[in-house]
């Protein structure tokens, strides 16, 4: 059985059908990419999995649970973590505090214990901190540990968001355009990180990405979406070669020189 499966999912915003009868399945251990033109409905798929939106029809199942029966804040407890396309961090808090919020689903202590900062709370805090420090080391965030998000450049914020998602110790990681706004070098780092996340941490990854270089390097499977419906699905190479995908998404245009350049980025 697939770890995550969407079955005939449809979502409309007024007259716009953002996602149209979409079915897809992500297997445990995969790195799965959603690609497609702007406005194809990729982020909307993420938002439905996170239960920010409720599809008008269809079902979303994670590890045998029907996600549609759960509220947005319960999704994290299944082990699903995500990042956002346009970065949604806790602006006034430090990087460390942001990551510690990621540990929220692992807390055990009660209100009264916390008010008294009883021994168990202290013990848990140490554990949270250890877990978070591992993520910090993994993503090279040490210099920013005590910086407020408001003072960080765009690229670092993207990494912090990834770190926060990892701090939840998820089974499934949803990454919405993890490499956008990153330089070539940083994109390379991202590639290794995603690889390690899958290989060493055993986390399944579902990501949206426009950088086909990155997609073809790290993904096992790609699904191309257009106007909310499935256009093509297969290995990165298959999808990239699909004429409809080229037509609607990749382009063959005059400045193929830049397209190539984009292609060799990773």
């Amino acid at each position: 059985m697939s770890l995550l499966s969407l079955d005939g999912v449809t979502l409309k915003f007024g007259g716009v059908t953002a996602v149209n009868n979409l079915s897809m399945a992500v297997e445990e251990g995969q790195v799965f990419a959603l690609v497609g033109p702007n406005g194809a409905g990729k982020s909307t798929v993420f938002n439905m999995i996170s239960r920010f939106y409720r599809p008008v029809s269809g079902s979303i199942t994670f590890d045998g649970h029907n996600l549609l029966n759960h509220k947005a804040h319960e999704i994290a407890n299944f082990g699903i973590a995500r990042t956002f396309q346009n970065i949604e961090l806790f602006e006034m808090a430090t990087v460390l505090q942001n990551l510690l919020v990621g540990r929220h689903r692992h807390r055990r202590s009660t209100l009264v214990e916390q008010m008294l900062f009883a021994g168990r709370v202290r013990q848990e805090e140490r554990e949270h901190r250890h877990a978070v420090e591992e993520v910090i080391d993994f993503l090279d965030l040490q210099p920013y540990r005590d910086t407020r998000i408001a003072g960080l450049p765009y690229g670092v914020r993207k990494v912090v968001e990834l770190a926060r998602a990892l701090s939840t110790k998820p089974r499934l990681l949803l990454l919405d355009e993890p490499a956008s706004g990153l330089s070539v070098e940083e994109t390379q780092d991202m590639r290794w990180w995603i690889d390690d996340i899958r290989r060493q941490m055993g986390i399944t990854v579902l990501m949206v990405e426009h950088d086909m270089g990155l997609v073809s390097k790290v993904c096992d499977r790609v699904l191309a979406l257009a106007d909310g419906a499935k256009l093509a699905e297969g290995t990165p190479a298959e999808v990239q070669a699909h004429p409809a995908v080229i037509e609607a998404y990749l382009g063959t245009s005059a400045i193929s020189k830049t397209a190539n350049a984009a292609g060799v980025r990773v």
């Binding site: 996170s50 920010f52 509220k71 947005a72 804040h73 319960e74 999704i75 994290a76 407890n77 973590a81 995500r82 956002f84 949604e88 961090l89 806790f90 602006e91 006034m92 808090a93 460390l96 505090q97 510690l100 919020v101 990621g102 540990r103 929220h104 689903r105 807390r107 202590s109 209100l111 916390q114 008010m115 008294l116 900062f117 709370v121 202290r122 848990e124 805090e125 140490r126 949270h128 901190r129 250890h130 420090e133 926060r164 939840t168």
Partner: protein
């Protein structure tokens, strides 16, 4: 300049980062404990009043500073604290039990009231709570059997372990009561801040959407924040009512809520110190102004002090929108960097706002 050499993660968990810091607060506590021997009964009364405002201010700070929910209705919960405390005492409970129970009771009611208010944000929550505090006035009249209606209550005698807490006969007893409460609330507050709950408060404040994605139950968190905030405000209200000697339906009117909000913002939103500094400004500044005008020979313009008070508040906010504690933090950084600090280091860089109508 001092450096903290952190040798373990526990350094970040401790109440005090280092010995120096601990000694500072210990010294402050000693001064506070010795105060009744140092100042006369007038100033002791004023100090007590400041501490009472600080207790209530800490309550609102938890909600507004930490969780980002603006309440203009905390006077309603202060009233609830005062009335429930007296009612519990009339049921025969000793003062201390009645007092703490009043806090718990107010907290629970606050949490329940928070449930319909959960979906409200910003001005909508502000006016919702403002309406609550306006209605409280009428509600107190309607609930006359428990509230004494428009006649209200005279503060009953207060005894703690055989010591009478009497404002006029022994002002220091009242002072210690207020100080003890303030310390207790501060301790709880600090503990919350370094616990998961405190972080989820901040998460809800900064981004409800990503808080949800991290598994924070926004509704529950807000309810807890509201409840705790009300509990503290209830304790503050109980003290305020009893300290005033009498209270009725008009005592905890919405102006008190507004002053409370002023206090925490002028003190510095989000800082425990801010609640205390704000309490000093709101509770003591008017008194200070009238002492000063007395000294200058009384003027014949009625209401002058309140007018000047308003102008000073405006000046405070213009001078430092982040509040007094925010300013102190900047000054401290400057001192620590001395003599390497640039003169215009804290010149405000241009800043811009975005709409808060997106949730």
């Amino acid at each position: 300049m001092r450096f903290h050499f952190k040798t373990s993660y526990d350094h970040d968990i401790r109440l005090f980062p280092d010995w120096w810091n601990f000694s500072l607060y210990a010294a402050l506590l000693l001064v506070l404990l010795a105060l009744p021997w140092v100042i006369d009964s007038f100033y002791l009364g004023e100090m007590t009043n400041v501490l009472i405002w600080a207790v209530a201010g800490l309550g609102l700070m938890l909600l507004t500073g930490q969780t980002g929910q603006v309440s203009l209705g905390h006077s309603a919960f202060m009233a609830m604290g005062a009335y429930s405390c007296v009612n519990f005492m009339e049921l025969g409970l000793p003062f201390l039990a009645a007092f703490l129970l009043a806090g718990v009771f107010t907290g629970i009611i606050g949490g329940i009231i928070a449930i319909p208010a959960l979906r409200l944000h910003g001005v909508y929550l502000a006016i919702f709570t403002l309406a609550l505090s306006i209605l409280m006035d009428d509600l107190i009249v309607i609930l006359s059997p428990w509230t004494g209606g428009v006649n209200g209550y005279f503060a009953p005698e207060i005894w703690i372990f055989g010591i009478e807490i009497n404002r006029w006969a022994a002002p220091e007893t009242w002072y210690y009561l207020a100080l003890g409460t303030a310390l207790m609330v501060t301790f709880f507050y600090r503990n919350l801040l370094r616990s998961p709950l405190g972080r989820s408060f901040a998460a809800v404040r900064d981004s409800e959407i990503s808080a949800q994605a991290m598994g924070v139950d926004v509704a529950r968190t807000k309810t807890l924040a509201f409840g705790l905030s009300c509990a503290f405000a209830g304790l503050g209200g109980a003290l305020m009512g009893l300290f005033a000697g009498a209270f009725n339906n008009e005592t905890f009117n919405f102006l008190i809520s507004i002053q409370l909000l002023m206090a925490i913002i002028i003190g510095g939103l989000g800082f425990i110190h801010g609640a205390f500094l704000g309490a000093i400004v709101i509770a003591f500044l008017p008194q200070f102004l009238s002492i000063v005008t007395d000294q200058l020979g009384s003027t014949s313009i009625p209401g002058l002090e309140t007018g000047v008070f308003g102008m000073i508040l405006i000046a405070f906010i213009l001078f430092e929108p982040m509040g007094l504690y925010g300013r102190w933090l900047k000054m401290r950084t400057w001192l620590q960097l001395f003599p390497f600090a640039r003169r215009d280091m804290f010149r405000r860089q241009k800043s811009y706002l975005k709409t808060e109508r997106l949730r």
